[in-house]
């Protein structure tokens, strides 16, 4: 079981669904959420700040479920920031794109980011998580 994962999606129902399914499959102990890329980056910035000031380091997400179409900051923009040197201490986490998109350009683009280990279609399901468990050896 993973310690912590981050779900980034603007749809609260999707987030609720993620939390419930993840809990059910015992995929991760903790699920934190962000409503868009910017909020997620904000979270990482906070982590960075607190880690620098306190002796005890907080948990960091081991896996990120990322939606693509979001207001304020979408998935691609988030990834561009997240893979920059500013987030070196966090970006060893794997990213899974979880989207409803059918745009072939999105699929092609996903292949260009080594950090993206999979591109899955919504909704999140228990068999999907079982498959991911095998893939990342949890």
């Amino acid at each position: 079981m993973l310690e912590q994962i981050l779900c980034i999606d603007d749809d609260p129902i999707t987030l609720m669904l993620c939390k419930k399914v993840i809990a059910k499959s015992e995929f991760s102990k903790e699920v934190i959420t962000a409503q868009n890329g910017e909020e997620a980056l904000h979270h990482f910035n906070n982590l960075k700040y607190t880690n620098n000031n306190k002796a005890k380091t907080s948990k960091k997400p081991e896996l990120i479920f990322l939606d693509l179409n979001m207001p304020v900051m979408g998935g691609w923009e988030f990834l561009d920031h997240f893979t920059s040197p500013d987030y070196t201490e966090f970006n060893n986490a794997n990213v899974i794109v979880l989207s409803s998109t059918i745009d072939p350009d999105d699929l092609a683009k996903a292949k260009k980011y080594p950090i993206i280990i999979d591109f899955l279609s919504k909704p999140i399901t228990q068999p999907m998580l079982e498959y991911l468990k095998k893939k990342i050896n949890v």
Binding site: D11, I13, T14, L17, K20, V21, K24, N69, S99, S100, T101, I102, D103, P104, S121, K122, P123, I124, T125, Q126
Partner: protein, 578 residues
């Protein structure tokens, strides 16, 4: 002394004759003297007589010789003169023969007063008349002249004979033995008597049919240039200081196009058509081609005399002589302003359409995304409910209906997404696909239905084991057709499906035949492959399958046709390039 004289005698006949005369006279004198001395006895006189005779004979002999030799000299000079004249005549005759032979001209000799005319061999070799056919009078000659030419010709000829004109030469058509006419050039001169009266005329007829024909051919060819709607101009071979060479000719179409008259433009360089909007890159290309003596085609904006701009397609073609040296350039120009306008409009339209298409595509992606996102939530939530026990029966029923509808909606949306993706993917990947393998995949996906209905399926692919196509599409096509066959089978008979593949020329023909309930083509032919067209009221029929099949077949460059009869069965024939 005597010996020497004899030698001289041998040389000249005159001397010889004189000598014989002298000797014979001397012998006579001696014989007479001997006889006289025999019969008369006074020898002293006799000697005197003898001496006198000898003297007389010698004297007459000398005179005789002189006369003779004088005469002979005269004869010799006459003879020499005659010989010279003879030789001259001979030479002149030979020359005439050579000329007559060498010339292809037909020579005629007309004695005007007697009206007798003589023709040389040319009349036979060139015009085909044998000697018997050739008339002896000038009438025969005039009769052979083309009626349209004869009046003009005879007027000119007689005015020459009457010495009103200096020279005579004329072109007319002369009839041949076979009835055809040859164009001839006839030139002649007059021989006059002491009174200056024309007595004889000698002429030479030259066959100029070939030249005339060539002239007419050239005239015809020239009309191509003069009548052409394309502008044609000819320039000199070389130019000074990096310019297009000077113009030596322009055709009327050029004047029409550019506004420059022939005399205004000849001697100038086509550089003057250059203007502010001319494409300097294209002009550089042209100058380079001129430098390299190569053919060249450019398109540029150029200017008329009134400085109006127009688009021109401009070619320069070098003309080389037999030695391979460049002699001229020919330039063909066409006003392509309208063409260019259309081209620009077309480009604009294509750009607009492409943009529209792109926008629509993006719109369909966003729409589908926005539909799929909440739908996926619904499905996710329903998945969660599955694990929660529900006691209320009514709620369970409601949830079951809710579940079914949600999944149906999801399927529909997924099918639509498929359509969008097929339409978006005209250059999909093709690979060598084994039809056997494709069917194995399809059958395994339909194993449940096949197990349930146990149709008799006949496959015959040995003719086309491999097909170059998109694997996913061909699988989807066959899956849809097979599903349809099972879905719309007849309840009265066992389902039989026969699928064959054949190679015809470079095409693979796939025939898919069943004995199902069929479709009424009379009523539905136009709608059969339409989107959301349903022909039977079956609960799980969405009217999408055949639409997808057709889209996929056409995306791969194939065609599909249907043949169906109600209650007999349906046959689909799919043709691919293979």
């Amino acid at each position: 002394m005597v010996k020497l004289t004899i030698f001289e005698v041998m040389k000249s006949k005159t001397l010889q004759i004189t000598l014989i005369y002298v000797i014979l006279s001397l012998i006579m004198a001696l014989v007479c003297h001997s006889l006289l001395t025999a019969y008369f006895s006074k020898p002293e006189y006799l000697y005197l007589f003898l001496l006198k005779d000898i003297l007389f004979i010698s004297c007459t002999g000398l005179i005789f010789k002189r006369i003779l030799s004088k005469n002979e000299n005269k004869n010799i000079t006459i003879f020499e003169k005659l010989k010279d004249t003879n030789e001259e005549i001979k030479e002149s005759n030979e020359k005439y023969d050579i000329v007559a032979k060498a010339t292809s001209d037909t020579i005629w000799d007309w004695k005007i007063q007697e009206d007798s005319i003589n023709w040389n061999k040319g009349i036979e070799t060139i015009f085909g008349y044998n000697q018997l056919e050739v008339g002896k009078t000038s009438k025969w000659w005039f009769d052979k002249i083309h009626p349209e030419d004869s009046i003009r010709m005879s007027i000119k000829l007689y005015s020459f004979i009457e010495q009103k004109t200096e020279k005579w030469q004329d072109q007319y058509r002369f009839k041949c033995a076979d009835g055809t006419y040859k164009y001839v050039l006839d030139r002649g001169f007059l021989l006059k008597d002491d009174n200056g009266r024309a007595i004889r005329m000698i002429g030479a007829i030259q066959d100029i049919t070939k030249q005339k024909e060539e002239e007419q051919r050239l005239k015809l060819l020239e009309t191509v240039i003069t009548q052409s709607k394309d502008s044609i101009l000819i320039t000199e071979a070389n130019s000074a200081s990096l310019k297009i060479p000077k113009i030596v000719y322009v055709n009327p179409a050029f004047s029409q196009m550019s506004g420059y008259l022939s005399n205004e433009i000849i001697g100038k360089s086509p550089n003057i058509f250059k203007g502010p909007k001319s494409d300097s890159e294209e002009l550089k290309k042209l100058l380079k081609a001129i430098k390299n003596e190569e053919e060249c085609l450019i398109e540029t904006i150029t200017y008329t005399k009134n400085k109006e701009e127009y688009w021109v397609r401009f070619s320069m073609i070098p003309i080389f002589n037999a030695e391979g040296a460049i002699t001229h350039w020919i330039s063909i120009q066409r006003d392509i302003t309208d063409e260019k306008k259309l081209e620009i409009e077309k480009e604009h339209l294509i750009r607009e359409l492409t943009q529209n298409n792109k926008d629509l595509k993006q719109f369909s992606y966003i729409t589908s995304h926005n539909l799929r996102a909440p739908l996926s939530n619904l499905i996710g939530l329903l998945n969660l409910i599955e694990d929660i026990p529900i006691e209320n029966e009514e709620l369970e029923e409601i949830l079951a209906g809710f579940n079914k509808s949600t999944h149906l909606l999801n399927e529909t949306i997924n099918d639509l997404v498929k359509v969008i993706i097929i339409k978006d993917n005209p250059s999909m990947q093709k690979e060598e696909v084994s039809l056997q393998e494709v069917f194995e995949n399809v059958f395994s996906q339909l194993s449940f239905q096949i197990e349930l209905h146990k149709p008799i399926i006949k496959l015959k692919f040995d003719r086309v084991p491999l097909l170059t196509t998109n694997k996913a599409y061909i699988e989807s096509i066959l899956l849809n057709l097979l599903t349809n066959s099972i879905k719309y089978k007849s309840e009265n008979r066992k389902l039989k499906i026969s699928i064959t593949a054949e190679q015809i020329d470079n095409k693979a023909v796939l025939t898919f035949k069943d004995n199902g309930i069929g479709i009424d083509l009379e009523r539905n032919r136009d709608k059969i492959f339409g989107l959301y067209q349903r022909f039977h009221n079956y609960p799980d029929s969405k009217g999408l399958g055949l639409y997808l099949v057709k889209s996929q077949v056409e995306t791969m460059g194939g065609t599909i046709i249907i043949d169906s009869e109600v209650n007999k069965g349906t046959t689909f024939t799919i043709t691919f390039k293979n």
